[in-house]
Symmetry: C2
Subunit: 202 residues, 2 copies
DNA sequence: AGAATGAGCGAACAGTTGTAAGCTAAACGG
DNA sequence: CCGTTTAGCTTACAACTGTTCGCTCATTCT
């Protein structure tokens, strides 16, 4: 086997080891270098051949998680074309991701407010992809001015993201309730934003 | 000095030590028992005279943080009576809390998605106080049916909470923008919920 | 006054952590 | 084919962790 090939292989082993150790009771911050190395089947010191420290690994994980999210968006678009029903399809796709890759979602959820500024901004950047894309859609589809389209998109993404977080601690029989609740909230936002030029009431 | 009195005093010293060690780069989870004891000016082993373990301390901190939040709500109500402008006053009061007690807010923000189920539900409970109170207000003030009032209140609280989180990483000159953006979002919600009986469009 | 209680302490423990130094051996480049 | 490169290893160390044990000594109770 080629050397570069083998190196990439154990690099992936490290990444996978890290992902697989994440859980409801174990955050990335509570992961130790040695633990990861052990799970990856390498000596602790070999870790350094691939990452300078745990932070570098963490940023890689966030990047990969963001990648999965973007693939998800593409998948959601396909479904929408065949299905119509933009809001419902989007949320349901997202919920499937959250429940099917809960550890990946948890990583983003936690590091969004974690102790590393670099992590926080990395997660924020991934979320902004969502917001930007949704905002563009809203600009095309509605008569919303640019600035307000963004604010609307941000609110929507926050609510959906938060619903995902709720789902992590909720029993599966509540998923459909959570989904429909969020659909209602998003419709309110869309409806409110549509019928609302500017009203400086307070 | 009475014994109980003195005990309460060092108990507070421990709590204050823990709070004061929290920061943008230091979460409760990354706090060690010895660190807290050192800051509180006691021997590590003396910690156990007051708390069974760090988790118990953490739950106490969450409770205290929740208490501060409830005091904040009361304060906001007073301001509203003198000031009118419900939405703006509420958000501004909240933002003052976030910026003035950022470490307390960060605790709630982080433990909401932390690794301890007990912490998560403790924070969720505190947030539910907000939601319940706001939902009751909406029921009185509007024609919203109960279930929808709750959904509306939840969305609003989430958005406000999230704005607080944004403020933690934003330069102070952006606070007013964040505030007005959130006001807009809340108005959309209120407006959308008001003019919306039930419309099964998708 | 005398006994009991309990907050706080120091020493010690077994465990874990990140990381440095130096070696081996296999893949590579000339 | 021989020298260089380098992924991975073992060993080692110093720092820190949570927790147990037994002691002191001021407050409290009888």
């Amino acid at each position: 086997m080629s050397r570069a090939e083998q190196k990439e292989r154990t690099r992936r082993a490290i990444i996978n080891a890290a992902f697989s150790q994440l859980s409801a009771d174990k955050s990335f911050a509570s992961l130790s270098l040695r633990e990861v190395a052990r799970e990856a089947g390498i000596a602790p010191t070999s870790f350094y051949r691939h990452f300078a420290d745990m932070d570098e690994l963490g940023l890689t994980l966030v990047d990969e998680a963001g990648l999965m999210l973007r693939q998800l968006m593409r998948q959601a678009r396909q479904r929408i074309e065949k299905n119509g029903s933009v809001i419902r399809t989007s949320i349901e796709t997202f919920m499937e991701f959250v429940t099917g890759n809960s550890n990946v979602f948890r990583l983003l959820l936690r590091e969004r407010s974690g102790t590393s500024a670099a992590f926080r901004s990395a997660v924020a950047r991934e979320i902004q992809h969502f917001v930007a894309e949704l905002a563009e859609y809203l600009r095309k589809e509605t008569t919303c001015p640019d600035e307000l389209a963004r604010a609307q998109a941000e609110a929507m993404v926050i609510l959906v993201f938060h619903t995902g977080a709720d789902a992590l601690d909720a029993p599966p029989e509540q998923y459909s309730y959570l989904t429909s609740r969020t659909i209602t909230q998003l419709r309110w936002l869309a409806h409110g934003a549509a019928g609302y030029g500017r009203k400086p009431k307070s």
